[in-house]
Amino acid sequence: MQNDTDSRLRRVRGPVQPKRHNARTIAALTSNPGCARRGVCDAAGVDKDALAGRVGFPARFGQSQFAITRGNAFEAQVKANGCAELLTLLREVLHLDITEVGYTDLEEAGGNDSQDVRHAYSRRTLLAAAAGRDDAGTLFDHPLLRMDVAGNGVYLEPDLIAFQYAGIFHVIEIKSFAVIDGQADGGKVASAAIQSAVYVQALRTLLGSDDAVSSDIVLVCPKDFSNKPCATKVDVRKQLIVLQHQLNRLARIDALLDALPAGVTLDLAKDDAGQPVLSRAELVQALGCIEARYSPECLASCELAFFCRDEASGQTAALGKSVREELGGVETVATALGLAAGSLLPSDEQAEITALLRAASRIYRESVAAA
């Protein structure tokens, strides 16, 4: 059965290497769980960025170079000199014992930075630490974790530190957005929380025990307008549930594949002459077969968002989740306008929403006239 699914996914992807996941893409999976298009593309490992370019909607997507540089500089500052600043924070905020200063760098295993070697080394070191052997260490910098996504092993390259205290690991996430007067940007905290949840999940898998890793993560951010770091505990239990749900769903990709017409493929390969195997029209048609659920949030997390937005233009769903929920049963913007203006007659199930739309329309006209 598994082989069958694999071969079907391979057919969707075509004869190219599957695109690898990272914590960001796994976190993005949870932002729109209802989207079959994203589910299929991610499970099959389709290069969505290249696909978006081929169908004429190249995504202006990804982190800005300035943000990456700033993030790296802040991380290096916090970790400098044997994590001196981080230790001060942990001692103040979490009352870490003064004897707990062990630091193990797992970014490189003996000058070898291949992922297999690094993962093996991280695994061995972390398991030894969990088993409580002496000189187990406290901080583990850049462990390379592994996670199963849709049947494929994915290496996670986190900039996190796993930190063991009183036998329990905590994930430390260092982010460069500022916490001003105790408040941080809600969206950024949420995305940091979901990314950390990915690491918590991966670390639990590695240690083979859910109790070994705390569901509270430690978020380290710059304080106010300075470069001074501050630490906050964030509970990621909710994000973990969402993540597990989405990962299970990816594993049940069969149901989604069953709904597709036979022979749908998003093959991005080129033939010997360097010409694409599939034309743009064929790719657009294939994408059209896989149902998408566009919402404006997609623009922040999915490479195909611009294509889906264009496809969904005129649909009420494209106006956002709240509009879609309010206007259940009214598919397009044109219908909604027609119902409001009275040029369309509502069906029985549209009666209630039509009354609301007409009231809204009347209030709008009156207020515009008054102004």
């Binding site: 000199n81 004897t99 062990g102 760098d105 970014e107 295993a109 000189d135 406290t138």
Partner: protein, 268 residues
């Protein structure tokens, strides 16, 4: 007046004469004579340029002679060595640069530090032990591999060049003590030196309440107090690893580390 300057002045007079002659030839419509005079003019102008270079050279020699003893620019490796000796423990390039800038004149370029380690290894391999010291990486205690981004000095005992799990903190505290002692010895420590010391003091419990109230002796005392807690455990790790290193590694590896090449060795 030197002969070089006289020659240049004679050339200037000749250039003036030639220019006048060229103008007269052109106004008279004698193109052939004008062309010949112009060629001559260009030749003399080139000579004049060369004469100027000679003068510049003479001036430079004059200026350099008294200045030489006052600006002895050390090679990069010497500067790094000095910073490491001051810190007394393996350190990251960033810290080495900070120390250099706090206590020495001149700029240290981070990019050149990166290639330094490779150059040192190449030099050692081609002519072992021909220099009084080499700059080498610190070694990790478990794999005896080069530790990422930590430089050490080859003349240090092996156990000081090894980093165990507690060593980053121990080295931080050791460096803090040595820095504090050094700053304490200076009659007028520079603001850069005090700023560097504060960066250490801020992350040591009870070292100083603020930048203004910080004294080098209180920083050293606080660092010693924390160091006492870690030092025994750290030393036992380091000594065990050092023994292993001396037994297992050849001369080059003892300095530059053992690099893992195959998967099997790491997975054991």
């Amino acid at each position: 007046m030197s002969g070089v300057t006289e020659a240049a002045e004679a050339l200037e007079r000749r250039i003036d004469e030639l220019r006048t002659a060229v103008r007269q030839a052109v106004s008279a419509g004698d193109t052939e004579r004008a062309r010949a005079l112009r060629a001559e003019l260009r030749r003399v102008e080139n000579e004049w340029d060369l004469a100027l270079d000679d003068i510049a050279e003479q001036q430079a020699e004059k200026a350099a002679a008294p200045a030489r003893p006052s600006a002895p620019l050390l090679p990069l490796r010497e500067q790094v060595h000095q910073a490491l000796v001051l810190l007394g423990a393996p350190a990251a390039p960033k810290l080495i640069i900070a120390v250099h800038e706090a206590f020495q004149v001149g700029e240290m370029v981070p990019a050149r530090l990166t290639s330094l380690r490779r150059d040192e290894e190449r030099s050692f391999r081609s002519a072992p032990n021909s220099r009084p010291y080499y700059l080498c990486p610190a070694l990790t205690h478990d794999l005896l591999a080069p530790a990422r981004g930590l430089l050490a000095v080859s003349t240090w005992p092996m156990e000081r060049r090894i980093v165990g799990p507690l060593s980053p903190r121990v080295d931080f505290l050791t460096s803090a003590i040595r820095l504090a002692e050094h700053v304490g010895r200076l009659p007028n420590p520079s603001p850069a030196a005090l700023r560097l010391l504060w960066r250490f003091a801020a992350n040591i419990p009870d070292a100083a309440a603020g930048v203004d109230g910080m004294t080098p002796s209180s920083v050293a005392t606080a660092a010693r107090a924390e160091l006492d807690i870690h030092t025994d455990a750290d030393r036992s790790h380091r000594e065990a690893a050092a023994k292993r290193a001396k037994r297992q590694l050849d001369d080059v590896q003892q300095l530059f580390g053992n690099v893992l090449r195959d998967v099997g060795a790491a997975a054991q």
